[in-house]
Symmetry: C2
Subunit: 499 residues, 2 copies
């Protein structure tokens, strides 16, 4: 058995070597690649992605799974956890007929490529049949995949966030929505709006970069195991544990965007950099779920990034990089203006308070699509009505409405809730961390290592060896609880809007 275990791990290492190459090819395509190379790159990524997929679904892999069946406990920890991960994916993929999967990949590529154009042209009519095709594919796949999940949509939720259900989310989101809307109302009726004009003061890209790099280094992002590059749609790409690259875009007249964007991506990078090396070259390496991954990016962006002490201790550095442009702004004015909240139509431009509402709208629509009876052509109307109801603003067109996100165009349904889970997990982790240390006192110094170490201890190190709910229970002693996010929001906005 021991030899078989070695062979299994060696095979996983081969797959990982290919995945690392694909990760670099993809990162390069989104950052530095000369435009002329894009067709070649698609070929290369397509072939190698197919190759690693085939290796995961091969007869050889099946033999490993069968050989270890019932003998999981004789395996070492790394092989045992890897096997569980391998098996889960093997079964998921085995259930889809090859021709249908290939047709689906083709359809989602087409639709994703079309998305840029239809969004620019505000043309939902052209997009609708493509979107509908993807929905029908997903409905069929749900039938193939479904075991004991209560509703069809649960099947999708469970794939992005193992263990997540409509039952849990309905409850959590209704509390969250009510709490956020109540707080928005309070801000509107009792709040004193902050001054915000200085947020558009000029700061050069180089200065924004220098400030952001200094700050994320303090947070624990290691440049010896990462990089920061320019891109159009910012992302973090880990090639492996020791190579977690982050990206940003810049606006020299809106420094908030890059600074918070970089902090957010650094949070993702810090997670990847601190997964235990014992999982290297196995499918257990890397973050466990989208929701937990977002909890790490948002812990840095929201929990640290909205902390008064953090900004107080870094404001001099920021002013230095503003070369006089912020000298007239006292710290309190700066801090309050930085944390303004304002309902927006666009998810990626929204703030800590309103962001979850954007997600709840998408969640409710996805639930209608897969559990209810809704025609694809009616989705824009439903979208716009919900924005008006929850956020008090109505999109004037589909470009700033249903066409704003690429996710559905690429066939990603059930993914959006992860963002809101990330907010709630981050706030819940913060509440637990607070019991062991004074976060604000730490952020008033230049040494944040206790915070990073707590997160590594509770979350990062485990990779995919524990489920999201296992991690949250062990770290916080309770299941998902939206109250922590509502408490955090109340604290931030009570301070900023002075009530």
């Amino acid at each position: 058995m021991e030899r078989k275990e070695q062979e299994f791990l060696a095979y996983l290492k081969e797959i990982s070597s290919i995945e690392q190459a694909v990760a670099l090819l993809a990162w390069d395509a989104r950052t530095l690649m000369p435009e002329g190379s894009s067709d070649f790159r698609s070929e290369s990524i397509g072939y190698l992605s197919g190759l690693q997929f085939e290796m995961k679904q091969s007869g050889k892999m099946k033999q490993f799974i069968q050989a270890f069946e019932g003998k999981e406990n004789t395996l070492g920890e790394v092989a045992r956890c890897s096997l569980a991960e391998v098996k889960k994916n093997y079964e998921l993929n085995s259930k889809l007929p090859k021709e249908e999967l290939e047709a689906y990949i083709k359809a989602s590529n087409t639709s994703e490529n079309l998305w840029g154009t239809v969004r620019a042209n505000d043309d939902f009519a052209t997009f609708e049949p493509h979107l509908d095709t993807l929905i029908q594919f997903n409905k069929k796949f749900i039938d193939y995949w479904r075991k004991d999940e209560k509703t069809p949509y649960d099947v999708l939720l469970n794939q992005y966030e193992p263990g997540m259900t409509v039952e849990i989310l309905d409850d959590v989101f209704s509390k969250l929505r009510a709490g956020i809307i109540a707080l928005m109302d309070k801000i509107k009726t009792q709040g004193t709006p902050p001054r915000t004009d200085f947020i558009e003061q000029y700061m050069s890209k180089e200065d924004q970069r220098a400030f952001s790099e200094a700050v994320i280094k303090k947070m624990g992002y290691r440049f010896e195991e990462g990089r920061l590059d320019d891109t159009i749609h910012p992302f973090m790409q880990s090639v492996n544990r020791a190579d977690a690259r982050i990206t940003t875009r810049w606006n020299e007249n809106f420094f908030k965007m890059a600074i918070f964007g970089i902090i957010h991506e650094a949070g993702h990078g810090i997670y990847e950099q601190n997964v235990s090396p014992k999982w290297d070259y196995t499918p257990v390496s890397g973050g466990v779920s989208m929701g937990i991954h977002e909890s790490q990016s948002l812990f840095h962006e929201i929990v640290i990034g909205s902390n008064r002490s953090f900004w107080q201790s870094n404001y001099d550095l920021l002013k230095k990089h503003a070369h006089g442009n912020l000298d007239e702004i006292d710290f309190d004015t700066f801090y309050r203006g930085l944390n303004e909240t304002k309902a927006s139509l666009i998810r990626v431009e929204s703030d800590t308070l309103t962001y979850p509402l954007h997600i709840i709208i998408r969640y409710e629509i996805e639930k209608m699509i897969f559990n209810g009876e809704v025609a694809t052509k009616d989705l824009p109307q439903i979208w716009n009505d919900k924005y008006e109801e929850y956020l008090g603003i109505r999109p004037a067109n589909n470009r700033e409405g249903i066409l704003q996100d690429i996710h559905w165009a690429g066939g990603s349904f059930g993914y959006f809730p992860s963002y809101a889970l990330g907010f709630m997990y981050a706030a819940q982790l913060k509440a637990s961390m607070e019991k062991e240390m004074d976060i604000s006192a730490i952020l008033a110094t230049d040494d944040y290592h206790q915070i990073r170490e707590w997160l590594t201890d509770k979350i990062h190190q485990y990779g995919k060896s524990k489920t999201p709910s296992e991690l949250m229970m062990a770290a916080t002693g309770e299941v998902l609880n939206p109250q922590h996010l509502l408490d955090l929001q109340a604290k931030i906005y009570g301070d900023v809007y002075q009530f």
Copy 2:
């Protein structure tokens, strides 16, 4: 047969997709990769290199070769030329026993990794047994490979430069050496040395980059199909025809280094960018040999880069980027100082006149190793004696002597002559081009397209579909002739040293 041909081309495309990934992984490792990732990267490159090697030597490939045997003329041009290339490599690799090849790769990796340390410590004694192991391996491989080559060393020469022999090189190099030494003597006795102090004027990295980019764009390097990044040991890496990346290092007090280095690498890049698209995804794509590749880098660096009109028309731009630091230097003083020649101990720091002597020394030593009787331990002494004899300077230690280059440490024997061939080919091409156009007149303008097009027409487009000698015969009407390089050197240095 047609279906078999399609399958063959599809298989080559798969191999090419892997090779492109390996090329990007390698480029990234030498430019941007975070240091922490280096072990992961070695694994990834190692696995994928092995995979493409296996695919080239597979039973499947053997079947293609057998199926097309004697039916080459029924194949289309692309498949036919690809088959010839595939067959050549298949046979070469098939002749080496797998265990010996693996042992050799291991030994050369060890030796290459050791090289940095022994060079720094000036420690040939530690290096000697490793070097000797590589030599013995190569001697054995030569026995496996040798067909009708006249001497063992011919086998190695032929691998880097198809058709090249000791007989040709002995003749060519003796003429070249005599001519260069005579010219060096003339410069010493009759020349007026140029003023050179201004070469060390400060020029920022950004200014050097802006000037170099402007110049290589005029030469025809396309940034839509390339990039320029920083590195330690400059190189060009083509990921594919539309992605030929160049690199450089900088010295802000010695602008010559980066400017000529960038022009050199751009010459390599221009070659790759202009190989005909019909060879895409086949082994025919890319440059035909090291020697021809160097002819393209050196055509740009030496032929264009030493041209008086070229510098006259670009001097104002350079002065602009020097921000006043060159204002006191009139053009004639500048041009002459730029082209100073001075014997140096280090190959990569040498100039257009003395460079070939560095190669001839290495050629003669390699010939002694493989055709003669020389003990590895005696090589430093031989090296130093030859430097004294040909260049009039003697290395004080092995760091600036035999340990200066990485090539032998990596097992590359027979490779060095390519550099000298590149010089001679470049000058020979120039002489032919001159018959069709006035190169200096073109370089006095900002539109060099005729030059680039001539090179594409005669060299670039063919990829590996013609041999170096076929290309040179068709382009210049004669076999390798060292007189053209001697003529070019006489012209440049007669002008610079005023005799």
